[in-house]
Amino acid sequence: MGAVSGAKLVADGVWRTFTTGSVETHAIAETSLAVFEGEFLSLLGPSGCGKTTLLNLFAGFDKPSGGRVLLDRREITGPGPDRGVVFQEHALFPWLTVRENVGAGKRVKAESRAGQKEIVDRQLELVGLSAFASYYPRQLSGGMKQRVSIARALANAPEVLLMDEPFAALDAITRLQLQDELVRIWKQTRMTILFVTHNIEEAVVLSDRIAVMSPRPGRIREVIAIDLPKPRDPNSPEFNAVERHVREVLWQGIDAAPNDPATL
C-alpha cells in the first residue's frame, strides 16, 4: 500500500518473527495497512493471529523484523506520547487518584497548573467520571478503570489512539456500555483509532473499516469497509448483513490456516 496521503498510521511491508530456542514463529507475515486520519479501524482475528503484535509495532513497544511502521510518514522507533495506548489490563497507576492518573501524561504536565486542571476536568467529563476524581483505581469497577484509562490516553493529546482489546476483560453488559461510550467519544473527538478485538459484533459496532486477520502466519485477509452511520443498531438487517460477511471472511481465514487445536 505504501505511504498513502491522508494516512495517519502506515505499516509498510511489515513482518515479525519471534525466535524461541531453535523454533521460529511467524507472528506476522509481510503485511501492509494504512489507518486514515479520523478513522476507526479494527484489527479482528482469533487469538494468535498477530493482531496485538501489529498494534505493539505501531505503539513502538516492539520492532518489526522487516518493513517499516510510520506515523505521519515518520518512522516509529519507540513508544511516544503521539500514540496513546489503552491496554487490556487498564494499566492505571495504583498510587495515583483518578484525577492524577488522567493528568499523568508528559504533555499534560507541560501545561500550566490551570491548564492541567482544565484538560483533566474535560476528559473526566467526557468519560463521565467527574464524581470519582479523588478515587484510587482499586476503588473502581473494571468498566470505570477502563474509562479512566481512555481519559488518560486522550488527555495527553495523542495523534492516534491504539486500543488493545480494551473491553475483553469486562462483563458482557459493561462491555456494551463502553462500546456505546466509545462511539460517542469517537464522534465527539474524531480521533484516529486502531482497535484490536476478537469480538465480531464489537468490531462491527465500532469500526469504519475492519481488517480481518488470519493466523499462522498472521496476515490481513481482507479489509472490510462499513458504511453505516454510527451509533449503529445491532438488530438492523444492514448490521446483520455486515456481521455475516465479516464472520464468513473470518472463518475462511481460520479454515485456510494450518490445522491447530488452538484455533478449533
Partner: protein, 281 residues
C-alpha cells in the same frame, strides 16, 4: 503488604447499611488471655517455691524493680536505679542510627541492583554469600576493627538492616509490572530516569516498606547482641550485666523494655507506611 479490597462500592450497597454493619463492637479482650495466664503460672511457681525464688522472683519484685530502674526511688537495683531510660535511649539511638545507615544503603543498592542486570550480577552473588553469616558472627571482627565503642554496634545494626532492605528493594524494583512501564513510556516518559521516577519507585514502595519493617526488627536483635559484647551501655548490656549478678527481675525488666521499644518503633514505621502508601488503604 497489599490489603485486599474490603471496601464495598457505594453504588452497589446503600451507604447507611455499610456503615451500620461496620460499626466496631466491643469484643472480649482475647489478647489478654495469654499474658494473664503466663503471669498466674509465674506467680504460682514463685509463691509455692516450686522453683528457687532466685530464678522466679515474684511479680511484685519485678514490678518494683522496673519502677526503681525508672525512678531511682528505692535504690534496690544499685547502679541501674533510675537508669532505665538512659540505657533505653542509648539502645534506641543506636538502632535509629544503624537503621538509618543500613536502611538507606540497602534501599539504594537494592534499587540499583533491581534496575540493572549487570549491576545485579556484579554485587548480588557476593551479598547472597555474606547474608547467611549471622550478625553475631560479625561481632569479633567488628570489635577488632572498631574497639569496644558505639561504632561496632552501629556497624552491626546497619549490616543487619542492610540485607533485609536490600533484598526487598531489589525484588520490588525487579518485578515491576511491565505493563505499567509501557504505560509510562506511551505517556512520554521514555528515559530510564523518567521511568524510574514515574513508575519503578512507586510500585516498589510496598516492598521497600516490607524490607524496612523486617530490617527494623533485625536492628533490635542486632543492638542487643552488640551491646552484650561490644559496648558498655544500653539494654543489651544491662541484660547481660543483670545475668552476671543473677538478677532475674532486672533481666525481665530489660526484656520487657526491649519488647516495648521494638513494638512501638514498628508501630511508628507502620504509621509512616500508611501515610506514604495511602492508595492501599
Amino acid at each position: 503488604m497489599i490489603v485486599s479490597g474490603e471496601k464495598v462500592e457505594s453504588q452497589v450497597v446503600p451507604v447507611g447499611k455499610v456503615s451500620g454493619t461496620k460499626r466496631p463492637t466491643i469484643g472480649f479482650p482475647y489478647f489478654l488471655i495469654a499474658p494473664i495466664s503466663i503471669m498466674i503460672a509465674w506467680e504460682t511457681v514463685s509463691r509455692l517455691h516450686l522453683m528457687p525464688t532466685l530464678l522466679f522472683p515474684s511479680l511484685e519484685t519485678i514490678v518494683l524493680t522496673t519502677l526503681d530502674t525508672l525512678t531511682g526511688f528505692w535504690g534496690t537495683t544499685q547502679w541501674y536505679s533510675g537508669a532505665l531510660l538512659t540505657h533505653a535511649s542509648a539502645s534506641l539511638l543506636r538502632v535509629a542510627t544503624g537503621f538509618a545507615i543500613g536502611g538507606s544503603l540497602g534501599v539504594a543498592v537494592g534499587i540499583l541492583a533491581g534496575l540493572s542486570d549487570r549491576m545485579c550480577r556484579t554485587i548480588d552473588p557476593t551479598l547472597q554469600f555474606l547474608r547467611p553469616v549471622p550478625i553475631t558472627a560479625w561481632i569479633p571482627l567488628a570489635v577488632a576493627w572498631f574497639g569496644i565503642h558505639e561504632r561496632p554496634a552501629i556497624f552491626l545494626i546497619a549490616l543487619g538492616t542492610f540485607f533485609a532492605t536490600y533484598l526487598n528493594a531489589r525484588h520490588g524494583v525487579k518485578y515491576v509490572d511491565p505493563v505499567l512501564v509501557r504505560a509510562a513510556r506511551m505517556l512520554g516518559y521514555n528515559t530510564r530516569w523518567e521511568v524510574l521516577r514515574t513508575v519503578v519507585i512507586w510500585s516498589a514502595l510496598p516492598n521497600i516498606f516490607t524490607g524496612l519493617r523486617i530490617g527494623l526488627g533485625l536492628a533490635w536483635m542486632c543492638v542487643v547482641a552488640a551491646e552484650m559484647l561490644a559496648v558498655k551501655s544500653g539494654l543489651g548490656y544491662m541484660l547481660w550485666d543483670a545475668y552476671n549478678f543473677l538478677r532475674i527481675d532486672l533481666i525481665i525488666t530489660g526484656m520487657i523494655s526491649i519488647a516495648l521499644l521494638g513494638y512501638l518503633s514498628d508501630r511508628v514505621l507502620l504509621l509512616f507506611q500508611r501515610i506514604v502508601l495511602k492508595w492501599e488503604q
